[in-house]
Symmetry: C2
Subunit: 219 residues, 2 copies
């Protein structure tokens, strides 16, 4: 057990135990519990969380057991403790360096969105191939030439790359990033990216969301 | 069959037939086919698409059958036709008016991202409660007081609302939007929103993506 720093990581065994669907639900619980904390509420039951966010109470209790927290009979979970555990388990209270690849309209917007920082994502640099963008800063973040990625990556201490390049460049760019030590790609392009085993790819699927919305409205 | 305008909607029956997972894959095919079109490629087989985006060729052929397009034996799909059909079926080549609710750092960034417009999303107005934001424009888009939402919604012709408000306001705001005629919510908050039957809610789950990335990197 790794208990010797002030913001302990979840133990490795626990991280490997939690199923991905449960992991994806934890941020909902955290969001709700944060509002309770802000309102000075001391305890919350899984039944109350369930009513609020529309997930079965038994599922919530099961999900929360993965982060090693148990509610007290008839009282429920201690809000402050639950918020701290969730935030720590999810890694939202630690800084994770990331680079933004492609600083066109979406990339620049994501750099400027200070909200990501509150969830532990620190965008430390941007990269692009357009000469008119290179050398600028966006919200204080320096923009470098993509040609310098290999040279700068490890110095920047970033293992996460946010990809917002044009569709026809996406796969080639992904390959380059991985070759230079990037371990996780957060894909904002409409492309489906391929990557070797062991590399994390998360697709935001903005375009799939739009497709579903338009399709439902047209019915 | 609705064939009497220049950019026909997919027929209602066809829209209702397509399963959601298939619908969510179509934008991947479109993204890839667009790059082929830009490179002047005339035909593509499902095998080639499969290799490129890592979906079974048989699955691709099945998904594409929902949009009523069939490949020719030994030649494959006609790229230009496939691109047009996909774009039209997905509704990306028509304008859909949307409003941005909450024009803080993320909301403002999304308004400024001109990329969404290329996928048919036209953000026609923003709403906020902060007096210092109301009356401004962002990238030419006017920002109104949230208190005027009921009065302005139908005039703006928007059925889609993009929600980027603070967590503790999210559900209340969603209820207000729905009460005033919004049919689809694109949720960028970490909250899980509740809505009556018939209202579309798409969650971007930015925070779930970060949770998965951090968790995988910590392993």
């Amino acid at each position: 057990m790794d208990n010797n720093n002030t913001q302990p990581d979840a133990p490795r065994a626990m991280r490997e135990l939690i199923p991905e669907p449960a992991l994806r639900r934890l941020p909902w619980y955290l969001a709700y519990v944060s509002t309770l904390k802000a309102r000075g509420v001391a305890y919350v039951s899984s039944t109350t969380i369930s009513r609020e966010i529309n997930v079965d109470a038994s599922q919530i209790a099961k999900d929360l057991s993965f982060i090693n927290i148990k509610g007290k009979t008839r009282i429920g979970y201690e809000v402050e403790e639950l918020e701290k555990r969730l935030s720590s388990f999810l890694g939202f209270n630690r800084e994770h360096n990331a680079v933004m690849i492609g600083v066109g309209s979406l990339g620049a917007a994501l750099i400027a969105d200070s909200g990501l920082q509150r969830y532990g994502l620190d965008i430390v640099a941007g990269f692009d191939i357009k000469p008119e963008l290179v050398g600028n800063t966006i919200a204080g973040v320096p923009i470098y030439d993509m040609a310098r990625f290999g040279e700068l990556r490890s110095r920047l201490g970033a293992e996460i790359a946010i990809v917002a390049v044009p569709v026809d460049a996406a796969q080639h760019v992904a390959d380059t990033l991985i070759a230079h030590g990037i371990k996780a790609l957060w894909n904002f392009t409409p492309s489906r990216l391929r990557a070797p085993e062991g590399i994390v790819i998360e697709n935001t699927s903005i375009y799939a969301h739009l497709a579903v919305i338009y399709n439902c409205l047209a019915k």
